[in-house]
């Protein structure tokens, strides 16, 4: 196996891991979404890179072009990008609402406040 010819996979895996690490390790809700975005975007590379041929053009029949790139991965990823944007938008909207409700976007502080609420509730009962 030639490592150099597979470098796109290594880049993909690296980006995936970086994204996933941010989601797990950061407590800031916005930063988590940044990590999630990176994680999703890395997958685009997994699809697109193998679809591209060096010297290949868009698959439109024309004189002088006989090497074409595979258009299907591009189309798929276009859909995946839309999904990614929708997810990110919804995630950010949720963070705005969380900030309004809790006054914080740090996961630990939010969990602390919930725990405090629960303690109060049992005290009252």
């Amino acid at each position: 196996m030639n490592l150099a010819s597979h470098y796109t996979y290594f880049v993909t895996i690296l980006l995936l891991m970086v994204g996933l690490f941010i989601v797990i390790a950061r407590s800031n809700l916005i930063k988590k979404l940044v990590g999630l975005g990176l994680f999703q975007t890395a997958v685009y590379l997994l699809y697109i890179a193998p679809g591209k041929l060096i010297g290949g053009v868009a698959p439109i029949i024309g004189e002088g072009f006989d090497v074409y790139s595979n258009p299907l991965p591009h189309v798929l990823i276009l859909t995946a990008i839309v999904v990614g944007v929708a997810t990110l938008a919804l995630g950010l909207a949720l963070v705005v609402r969380i900030k309004e409700a809790y006054g914080s976007i740090e996961e630990e502080e939010i969990l602390e406040r919930d725990a405090a609420d629960e303690l109060n509730a049992t005290d009252r009962a």
Partner: protein
């Protein structure tokens, strides 16, 4: 003429209704549109199932582009049966929403609520019917995004955090699934599921196939809430509006379970997934863990909604246990439990929703004396609980019976004991409710509350009644589960 378009209509009807509701805006009008669309999907799902059982496989080419290049909808007894369950649950939940949602969602947001319910329904039905791996991902995200919004509509601010956490985990799951199908596509050059099923065995035992199997399994398991990937589920069910808890508990995880079964048995094939490696053993171990650990956690919950949520994780363990046996008997048990548990848990959440409306919360402490203040609701809830335990005469018993029979056919006698033991845990958490509701006095000076409005009570009662019906006469549900299992186990031709 219309008959051949049933597969696409099933998805299109709720999908079109969603933007229509946004245009209608008025709460009553949007509810009527959503109700109508749900009834229409059920009317479509019934003949579709009949057709699938009679014909075997129905293939529908979207836009008449033939498969494998075009997107194909492929319907057989398995997905038509699960689609019927989903449509049925929508029809049960919708009448409940009219009054049930009024207390939990601001009236100017009602139309958005119904639009999201319709999108969620369309997404779930799309996942079931599509025969295209990438199309499945798109529908998965449509239903998931709608679900995140629905959960966030809960009154409690913790609903927002629950929704956010589910968004993170759900997106990771869906992305893992995309990686999996990406690997499959790179190897085979096709995304059509039936085509994949034919090309994969030719590839032989390639490591990339196994990597794809691993990614898809973990990704979908996150959506199933298979133990230990269930962490998003309890909060999501506990803080979302009651109608949403009922609908999700009855459908969302079930649809993902169907996807897992489809990939395991139809696409990768039993030999790759079970015979050649330890997937079966691993799934068996996780299912057993799911049957016991969340059931124990459920016993210690103070909030009845959370208790039911943990019980759901535990019940999912029974379904995956059926899958891990990798026999037609095991699959029958899995599909039967999928149906029976959807009825039971959906009904219990709906009944509980009425109680929450009257009591202003789902904490167990507040429900002291419920058997006296809301006798019908308390009794129906206990009947649902009996089905969770698996008492003979309830639907839960039927699926556990199938499960134990399937385990014995495989020579795994000890599994029967495990199922019994885990049912004992269910006895404990159901008993906690019985004790509070029937053996404690209602607190002094509490206002007389009375039953929930009929429109909220009836759908729940209907589901619990269905759960008893299918416990006494399992001919139809059993034969459907059997047909679905055979369709899953057989090659998809």
């Amino acid at each position: 003429m219309l008959k051949q378009h049933l597969p696409i209509l099933l998805v299109i009807v709720p999908l079109i209704t969603a933007p229509l509701i946004v245009l209608l805006r008025r709460p009553l009008l949007s509810w009527m549109a959503a109700m109508l669309a749900s009834v229409v999907t059920l009317i479509i799902a019934i003949p579709l199932l009949q057709q699938a059982v009679d014909q075997g496989v129905i293939s529908y080419a979207i836009g008449t582009w033939p498969a494998p290049l075009g997107i194909e909808y492929r319907v057989d007894a398995a997905n038509a049966f699960v689609a019927l369950i989903v449509a049925l649950m929508a029809v049960f939940v919708m009448p409940y929403c009219r009054t049930g949602i009024a207390a939990e969602v601001r009236s100017e947001e009602h139309y958005l609520f119904y639009a999201m319910m319709m999108l969620c329904l369309a997404g779930l039905l799309g996942i079931l019917l599509t025969g295209d791996a990438f199309n499945l991902f798109v529908f998965l995200e449509i239903s998931s995004l709608a679900t995140y919004v629905l959960i966030a509509m809960g009154r409690d601010r913790r609903a927002l955090v629950a929704s956010y956490q589910y968004l993170l985990m759900g997106t990771i799951g869906a992305t893992l699934y995309v990686i999996g199908i990406g690997l499959l596509y790179l190897q085979t050059g096709t995304l059509n599921l039936a085509d994949l099923a034919q090309r994969l065995p030719v590839m032989g035992d390639v490591r990339a196939t196994l990597a794809a199997l691993a990614f898809i399994t973990v990704g979908i398991s996150l959506k199933i809430a298979l133990f230990p990937l269930h962490l998003w589920l309890p909060n999501a069910y506990a803080y979302s509006p009651s109608a949403v808890s009922a609908f999700l508990a009855a459908t969302a995880t079930k649809v993902s379970i169907y996807v897992l079964m489809r990939y395991f048995f139809t696409i990768f094939g039993e030999t790759v997934v079970f015979d050649a490696r330890y997937t079966g053993t691993l799934l068996l171990a996780l299912s057993l863990a799911a049957m016991f650990i969340p059931a124990v956690v459920a016993i210690f919950q103070k909030d009845v909604k959370r208790l039911l949520a943990y019980s759901s994780v535990s019940q999912i363990g029974y379904i995956t246990l059926g899958i891990s046996l990798s026999s037609v008997g095991g699959l029958t048990a899995a599909v039967a439990h999928l149906f029976n548990h959807a009825l039971t848990k959906g009904g219990m959440f709906l009944i509980l929703g009425g109680v929450v409306l009257r009591y202003g919360g789902a904490s167990l402490e507040r429900m002291a004396g419920l058997g006296r203040t809301m006798p019908i609701a308390a009794f129906a809830f206990v009947l649902g609980g009996l089905s969770l335990i698996g008492i003979p005469g309830t639907a839960g018993f039927i699926s556990k019976w199938y499960l134990v029979t399937a385990a014995m056919e495989e020579g795994q006698w000890w599994l029967a004991g495990a199922v019994m033991l885990s049912s004992l845990l269910a006895v404990i958490y159901v008993w906690r409710f019985v004790e509070v509701a029937y053996f404690r006095e209602p607190p002094e000076g509490s206002p007389s509350r009375g039953e929930a409005p009929l429109s909220m009570l009836l759908p729940g009662l209907a589901m619990i009644a269905a759960c008893l019906w299918f416990g006494l006469d399992a001919t139809w549900s059993g034969s459907m589960a059997r047909a679905a299992a055979e369709a899953l186990a057989g090659a998809w031709k």
